[in-house]
């Protein structure tokens, strides 16, 4: 149990739980969607935390020194996709909420 409570991993999992709580417990539809976006952000934080290497450079190659220590670029690429798809899902959810409220008011 030597690195049980590293703060970065712990906070991303705590965000996971809090986002899940907002989705399940709130009675308002917009708040549920915002909880879903927090939930997605927590997964991104976790992946970017995994990719980090101490005392390393961001993954942009410096042409003068070709053998430096870089952070792992593969999770960055996967999370780029996840962010953009997340905003599309959010927009679609919002337009569905507008239609639902319109049906409820009639």
């Amino acid at each position: 149990m030597n690195h049980l409570l590293n703060i970065n991993y712990s906070f991303s999992i705590l965000l996971f739980g809090l986002g899940l709580y907002i989705v399940l417990a709130s009675q308002d539809l917009i708040k549920k969607l915002i909880g879903l976006s927090i939930f997605q952000t927590s997964v991104l934080w976790f992946y970017i935390n995994i990719a980090k290497v101490s005392n390393a450079f961001p993954p942009i190659i410096n042409k003068n020194q070709l053998s430096l220590l870089y952070t792992n670029p593969l999770p960055h690429v996967l999370m780029l996709t996840a962010i953009v798809v997340g905003v599309t899902t959010l927009a679609l959810g919002f337009s569905l909420i507008i239609e639902i409220k319109k049906e409820q008011d009639e």
């Binding site: 970065n8 917009i30 970017i48 290497v53 450079f57 993954p59 593969l74 409220k101």
Partner: protein, 312 residues
Amino acid sequence: MILESLLNYVVILVSSITISALILSNNIMKIILLNSVFSTLAVIMYLILDAPDVAITEGCVGVLSSIFSIFTLNKIYKNDFKIADKFNPTLFMIIMTITLLLLFTTQGLPEFGQTKPDNYYLNNSYNEIGITSIVTSILASYRGYDTMLETLVIMLGSLAVLLIKPQIKLFSIPIKDLIAEKFVSFIFALLLLFAFYLQFHGEISPGGGFQAGTIIAASFILYGIVFGNHNLIKFVSLPKLIVLSVAGIGIYLITGLISILRGKSLLNYNILSNNSLIGQSIGINAVEIGIGISVAASMLIIYLSLSDESST
């Protein structure tokens, strides 16, 4: 280094305060604003964790997500922002138990910052593709299929938003303020210049098609908010936007099909030119232009659909 780890703790503390305020809040406007504050804190966190590409994408996309939330809020809650929401302790306890169990699984992970990335991309990307940004080389060249289908998902999302609400009157009330109009006239060109900078510098620095597309959309959205949608339609009408969002994916696909016509597999940029490095550069630039056009058009379609003030 000390500053970075101190900033790490500060960002985690401030974001935990933000999220707690968001959970306990009853005012929907406050919740949406706290969400955009949290998105900004996430950008700072990604910069601390040495992920500049992810940071700039989250920054650009957080803008659009806040704009869409506020337009939805405007349509549903006219003047009264109070929602009926109570804190539910039993559910909170159950979810915290599950979270604590999940926390114990981080024991199996390697220690923070001590992973040794020795993968293929870090060693071979500069020799095979020749651009200095490894993330763009993976995104546009090594994993080009994923990016093509992701752009397709964004286009389909915008089409689905149109299908949910087919009768769009494209009418919105402009802001009649002299300062706003002068400011937008000035900043519009600068925003487009920045978007083109991000688009064409995607090879050598953080940037690329997605970020540029969202900033182009944001500049047109700013114009539409201040001057009214009926003025925006004179430049970018809805049929043109639908054609543009499909044409972006078309550019992507045609770049891939050219390599089939020359006898190799789909999206093989090496044979677009005699020198394989120049071929990769041509392929990546063409593909990023396609992504930028498609993302900008899709985000504008979603904005036009959500900001429609007709009373039907």
